[in-house]
Symmetry: D2
């Protein structure tokens, strides 16, 4: 059975579809093809192969010739190892209370770096110098972890997107205080589409120092990357990746995926679809008085309050996660393969359930 | 281009072939097919999917119904996280001086577990209670790291294979001293073929407590697993895997590979080929007086001394690594896709070079 | 020069006196005497000596016969190592935002345990089940650090003191959720005096599981202890202490201090003095309209807002630290050796400065 | 009871005397006096006091004006934190198989630094470039921990002493390979006396980069120091010490001890005594045919083989530790307070026991 056969099966299994997470979707066929075409002959392991060379060059095109990129397996690893390269254990990393880094990595930053993660409360997933300010004390005081990195998520865990101006402002604040700016770009493609800007414009050029560049949530099988956007930051990083258990022996199969991801701007069409589907969902939900969209929909996630019993019934049809059970708030994520019919069907069933 | 097209390209790229490592080979087509056929619809991430359920059941068939298996990305992670589950930082892990754990993981055990790795010198990669004995002191003495795990590699890094009796003896020694037995099975399939035994016979039934079960070196794309073979050992392990940055979001694509790996005993035919090719290489090399095979060839690796200048010329044709440059010793690894013609060609060129 | 000579010098150096911290005071003479009298002959190192035996027995009298106590050097070590004994890296420790553990240990818990420290905001240094509740989510969910310990400080960093009822309530909450209760008792003597209760009544009997029992801030030279108040908690702890670099070779000189500390209830007279002096300071400050005491004075610390320029001038006479510079709030700590004249003098000068 | 009273008791307790360890002895009276005289008034905690200032200046006199010294509590901490300042987790530290760092710190270097400790076997506790050489491979290879520090012990754990030429040779070897030289000077005073050289001559001037300068084994109560002998090495070290739980709040009482330790070269007279006593013990033992001194006696330790049953009886009179029970080898350590009569008495009883 070839790729086409595989796609036919996907069609028939609509019943499994849902809004649980953008990583519940599979691999985009063009990426699978690239894996297949790289699966030829022997190549040296651990990244000394032509596919990795080609993929890394693509990253240089996108992020600047002085950027240095390293591939790893997971988004958690991209965040933790990237941060590990620019912090020491006596530093603190300041991030949003909603950040994946804080709440969804089971303490991996603390375990691997040994440092403190400090949070700024934020209603919409975005932080600002004003919110960060409260952690800027005890400087040069040995009893206190020294702030070293600000980490922002783009697009945020709440589906919102930082503007270039907002990022530049945080970067200036960070650099003025001798700190660095890290961006968790697990959904960076969705942000790029939302901003209608090339990656560079809101990363390298906006003052970001280290970036986790995600792919898995936007159609890849696995594989994330860490992009050091300023010279000198990745010194010794190859040891951090290996000791961090993230050096792939058959690296070509991450690299090949990235080649496919960037070819014909696949990343853009994938993210455009998921963003558009979220927008459509948002618009449709806003027509229904019994439910309330709680966050501005700027990328591919929709946060919505609906009656708990209705939500439970909806999950018989489409899988999705509760976000805040006390508030009866749910998260609906759209993927590269979400279709108009998914949205229409979801809304149709929802209305029916609400009428009961 | 489908799988067949891909295989055609592989044929044409013979020039890239070599004996560098079994991970320089690509993915076996049957495993790729399984990935493709699992790439359908949405499934819940992080392992709560039908493919993972199926794959984990297969592991129970092979290792016993009380065994518990967890998938991770790399062999280093399988070793380090598996050991992490059964040690504390004040313990020591005793292993062979040749072990991957000691020399090829950039200190990942020390970093992640914070414990001491103690080595026993061994000429052939295998350790025995006698060799381990020297580290069995300072027991119950707080100044001294407490021995907790013996780790053996099967097949060893030197291509040798432990017999069931040898493993049982080490297990008894370990358990009598309140320790556990860990097996690094990065090449366990090659050992099973060499011993002509089911996995269980020289793991669970021989007293092994925790196993790293490799797949990547025998035809998979990526993905290794940690098998806790005794009840109660994997308590809390799910947190260790997540905090260890090794929880795959699109887990189905590791699981699907394992399904393919076990279907029709693909693991066995792959390992049988690489073992047979190594045996053939061994036999041919032994006919050549100018070179010397230095280890007994029991799995898929051949260690051979040859003149350094000849070795350098050989590497224009077939890539392989030096093992001990001072002794002019080299390592030749055979893979699931190594062919008779590779061996014949290699030997032919070698003889020619030696004649010069 | 003997002890008496030393005390004479202390008298003459009044100029150095202040309210900087209770650790700016020296060693109580009775403790020094005990050190001197233990300085005789040879004893086995690392705690196998008669002084340590005697001191540990005293702890059993105070905390119950099943309690197990270990001496270390610093309060940070007492907190971090004690917590290390009852947590794993994937756990979280929940504490007050004002806790020493959070803000004054330079990330030592994160470094040594590798776990997450989560904070509950509190105006007065005390936390309650209601404040802790917000961190009780994601249970059994591998993406989330699992709450394992609640840590309270007694007396708190804000000078307030938990009642037995408050402690019991937190302990019940902790235990009902499968968690443990840790108490940072850096100033536990001050709390005992404030509550007018034996130590046991608000620790062991109130449900505390692990206690950091301080001495340095109440007249000792150095040395803190970790008391495991429930059986079974200190299993393997001797290795944690040694690996934590806190095993004293000449242990007798910590033990001797504790012998002196408990003899004739020296701890009580010392803490009674510092508490009384703080109360006196509080009363006097409340007579002055230009300044405002911001926390209820229940132990030996007084928090007070005063004009910044006045505070600066006061520090020419008596050293003390700012607490919150933005609010012009300062912390005045009383010690075992603070005298009525210190308070009277401080108040007199303060009034004069305020008049200017 | 004053110091004199204390000394009288010490006389009467001869029964407790022994050769267990130089840390089984107490505090030299001159050091106690210095503690007492610093116990006056209030001083700012954590090292911002006049005693610490004075003590640190003395270190600059001994080790050079560009040296930077930090006080900690234990020898293990001095080693681990000092090394922590100059390594990263992907480095390896190469030391002697007999080193305290390897065998007597319960894995503290691995826990705190996360790095690998590699050992060179040595019969006499000393290592050489030739012995170290075997670990100098895998350079720049990410799979392999990168050698960064060579650590030697002076005097060694076997009682031997490196010459200046030997140290210089190792330093040159280290520096030529981009590595640093660390010296564990737990018994550095004994080495200085043995070499009849100032400290600087065989540390700073011989190429040592970082030094653990011990005091506890030579008459102090507690307190060791870390001396960074080259500029730029101690950058950020204050955070390492605090996070390492080794920042003393009442720092003056370590500093005062060092003031006493250097005053009138007390360190020298103490170490001269213990060295001389060891020499005397060595000479006497060599007269006895039934026992065999196994190491050259160059500092204050004597290693001797004697019949196990005799050793057991001797321990009724004088406590000492077995070194290698299989070889019936024992370690006899002399202290600053060991007396001629101790040696004479020990030899007398030994002869009597051997005659039985």
């Amino acid at each position: 059975m070839g790729i086409r056969g595989s796609l036919r099966i996907m069609e028939k299994n609509k019943v499994k579809r849902g809004f649980g997470s953008d990583n519940n979707a599979g691999i985009h066929p063009d990426i699978l093809k690239e894996i297949i075409s790289s699966n030829t002959g022997h190549v040296i392991g651990y990244g000394a192969d032509v596919y990795t060379e080609q993929a890394l060059n693509i990253f240089k095109e996108h992020f600047g010739s002085y950027s240095e990129t390293y591939f790893v397996f997971t988004g958690t690893a991209a965040n933790v190892l990237g941060l590990s390269g620019i912090t020491r254990s006596w530093n603190s990393i300041i991030t949003a209370s909603t950040a994946h880094l804080e709440g969804d990595e089971c303490g991996a930053p603390e375990k691997f770096i040994g440092c403190k993660v400090l949070v700024a409360d934020t209603p919409d997933g975005k932080i600002t110098p004003e919110l960060i300010e409260k952690h800027m004390h005890g400087l040069d005081f040995e009893h206190h972890s020294q702030p070293k990195v600000i980490s922002i998520t783009q697009a945020t865990e709440m589906g919102t997107v930082y503007t270039v101006a907002e990022i530049t402002k945080i970067a200036s604040f960070a650099h003025a205080g001798g700190m660095l700016l890290h961006m968790d770009g697990a959904r960076i493609a969705n942000a790029a589409v939302a901003l209608n800007l090339p990656f560079k414009a809101f990363t390298t050029e906006a003052g970001v120092d280290v970036l986790s560049f995600g792919g898995t949530k936007n159609g890849m099988m696995f594989g994330e990357s860490i992009c050091f956007l300023k010279p000198g930051l990745s010194f010794d990083f190859k040891y951090i990746r290996k000791q961090g258990m993230q050096l792939a022996s058959k690296m070509r199969f991450i690299s090949a995926q990235y080649i496919g991801y960037f070819r014909n701007d696949l990343w853009k069409s994938n993210a455009s679809n998921s963003n558009a589907m979220a927008r459509m969902l948002d618009e449709q939900l806003k027509q229904i008085p019994e439910v309330k969209v709680t966050q501005e929909v700027q990328s591919n996630g929709v946060f919505v309050r609906m009656p708990a019993d209705v939500a439970e019934k909806m999950r018989d049809h489409y899988f999705f996660y509760p976000w805040d059970e006390k508030r009866s708030e749910f998260r609906l994520m759209c993927s590269w393969d979400t279709k108009k019919e998914d949205i229409e069907d979801f809304i149709r069933i929802l209305k029916k359930e609400l009428e009961k």
